[in-house]
């Protein structure tokens, strides 16, 4: 019950602000968006940080550190979209930044000549060119993670119009679906793993939401490459990794590779991991239960059910050392999970909430 009470508080605190956030027009002032992925936002949708959370150091806008030597596997996608509303029709508006580690551009791909010039951390007057809003792109160039702020100020009379507080991502979440579950927009409501991933994204995390086929049985592949890049060049040190069915097997494979090659990667900790009915993923045709706890995971959440003919006897199972202690939760022992099959166990709200709550308590943003 305590878990649900905690979640209810979180929902009251944040949920209202998150609701319908994309349906409203940008307010007069500053609006920041959640991080991009590749050329735009896919597999997420363009998500505005709610007005009420713009200065929240955890739930507010997050920004990847753009460190030297970064591979940027998905292309230049570390800039945060910022919409500046023309607060007062005839006012002169400027941006003020907390320090030189924030760079602001007029183009998302940092075209030559499109950087805003700051003098003593104040920009020149913003040129709206007659429009009501101006889109800018913010980048964090310093490697050390810290909080940064960006303010919109009106001159004559002097007034602070709006302010954003950016957290530099120190955590990274990886969400891996089951076989044939592919991240898509809009999300399939029956892809429980991806629903958790989207909620974490909306709550201020940097999230890799991926097809589990992007993790090979050796743990190698695009997901591994991106995680290592984040650790080595973006100041990321805390990981949360979870998956359903074969995505659970891939969670093991990814953690195993990260742990095996730790000496060459850098400093990081797998703070939280999770399986939902984990099935080993040595291949697309592997049907063995994933019963091994992910190597070096500090906290492993496990949910499983028992297979029947209805799900071809596919199931996960008890994973020693996981929570709920000692081996995880057999959902069929709880009233809401009775009769669960492999193909629905990832969709229970109780399962999703458990993963989200445990991960949020352990993985920094």
């Amino acid at each position: 019950m305590r878990r649900f009470a905690t979640l209810a508080c979180l929902v009251l605190l944040v949920g209202g602000a998150l609701a319908a956030q994309n349906g409203r027009p940008a307010p007069q002032g500053l609006s920041a968006y959640r991080p991009q992925h590749g050329a735009a936002y896919f597999p997420f949708t363009r998500t505005r940080v709610p007005e009420a959370l713009e200065e929240d150091p955890a739930f507010g806008p997050g920004m990847r550190v753009n460190g030297a030597g970064e591979l940027d596997p998905a292309g230049e996608d570390d800039l945060i979209e910022l919409v500046v509303g023309r607060a007062f029709q005839n006012a002169t508006l400027v941006l003020e930044r907390s320090g030189g580690e924030l760079a602001v551009w007029r183009t998302r791909n940092k075209q030559a000549g499109s950087a805003l010039t700051f003098t003593a951390n104040r920009s020149a007057p913003l040129d709206f060119a007659g429009a009501d809003a101006l889109t800018l792109w913010v980048e964090r160039t310093a490697v050390t993670p810290m909080l940064d702020s960006l303010s919109l100020r009106a001159l004559e009379p002097d007034a602070l119009v709006d302010r954003l507080v950016f957290h530099a991502f120190q955590g990274l979440v990886v969400a891996l679906g089951g076989e044939s579950q592919v991240p898509q927009v809009p999300v399939d409501p029956n892809h429980g793993t991806f629903l958790v991933a989207i909620e974490l994204y909306e709550r201020g995390y940097d999230v890799l939401m991926r097809d589990e086929d992007e993790v090979a049985a050796s743990g190698a592949g695009p997901v591994y490459t991106e995680v290592v890049n984040a650790i080595q060049h973006r100041g990321v040190g805390e990981l949360g990794i979870f998956g359903y069915s074969h995505g659970g097997g891939s969670t093991y494979d990814l953690c195993d590779r990260l742990n095996t090659l730790r000496g060459g990667i850098g400093t990081f900790a797998i703070q939280c991991s999770s399986y939902v009915d984990g099935v080993q993923n040595d291949s697309d045709v592997d049907v063995d239960m994933e019963l091994r706890k992910p190597p070096s995971s500090a906290h492993h959440v496990n949910h499983f059910q028992h297979g029947t003919f209805a799900d071809f006897f596919l199931d996960g199972g008890a994973v020693p050392g996981s929570v709920p202690a000692p081996n995880g939760l057999d959902v069929e022992t709880i009233f809401w999970g009775v009769g669960a099959t492999h193909f629905v166990v990832d969709d229970f709200a109780q399962v999703r909430d458990y993963i989200l709550t445990d991960l949020e308590a352990r993985v920094g943003r």
């Binding site: 076989e179 044939s180 809009p186 090659l261 040595d282």
Partner: protein
Amino acid sequence: MIATRIAALLLLTGIASAQKVAPEKLPAADATLQAGLQRLLDAPSAAEQRQAFEFLRANAGAAHARLVPQLFRLAQLATDTREAMLEGVVLAELQVPADDVIHALVPLFDGADAALRAALGGVLSEYEERSGEHGADFSVYRALLAAGPSDGFVRYLLETDPGAGFLALTRAVHWDPADPRELRALLWAEHAVADALWKRSHGFVSADQLARATPEAVTQLGVLARHPRWWARLYALQVAADEAGLRSALPLELLAHDENAQVRELAASLRSAR
């Protein structure tokens, strides 16, 4: 899933995944077996499920040669987890031997594009013992390799695990027992490259220092890039594709005009990525 398959009704604006195999590249549908698989998916009771399994067993063909490609087809066209997992369920239930799966699928590498190679590898990795620590084990293909593999299969082995693939191909050659010079040269080259990659992956050498810190690997890659065996040249390219720090060791212009199409294609892609 809990609700009906709403996703099928939604207008999808985009999908991100590993590449999908074009349907025309898949084995042609066998109506009898596809109907049998559908019957298995739809079975409303354990008894009818059992009958559906028996139907598939009876119609699997010699060494399951008829069934395995149909399972692969079904999995590639799957629209949900239930369909996608069926391939593994049937292979396990009918206890289909690894050799049957391998002999049914490996011919599909002939002329396969990257998406089909990846999809076939998604099945075959079950038998390859891929490990983050020790790499892949391709010994299950020993007989196939000794008989002369297709170019597409060789490319698959090398892109899956260049070192393990190279050694598997080396062992498959019928060497002259009286003259081990070429064999030893190939083994030494692989050893030098593997040593460099090990140092790199465990943090003893950084990416930008790799070529300078491992000159023997650079030398050996250069030798392999000009080796008369095409798969040795392809191996050198694949290593460079995976590890950009070693790319300068290769004569990409020369290899882009190689007599072998696989070598030409990979060299051209590396050249354009420079």
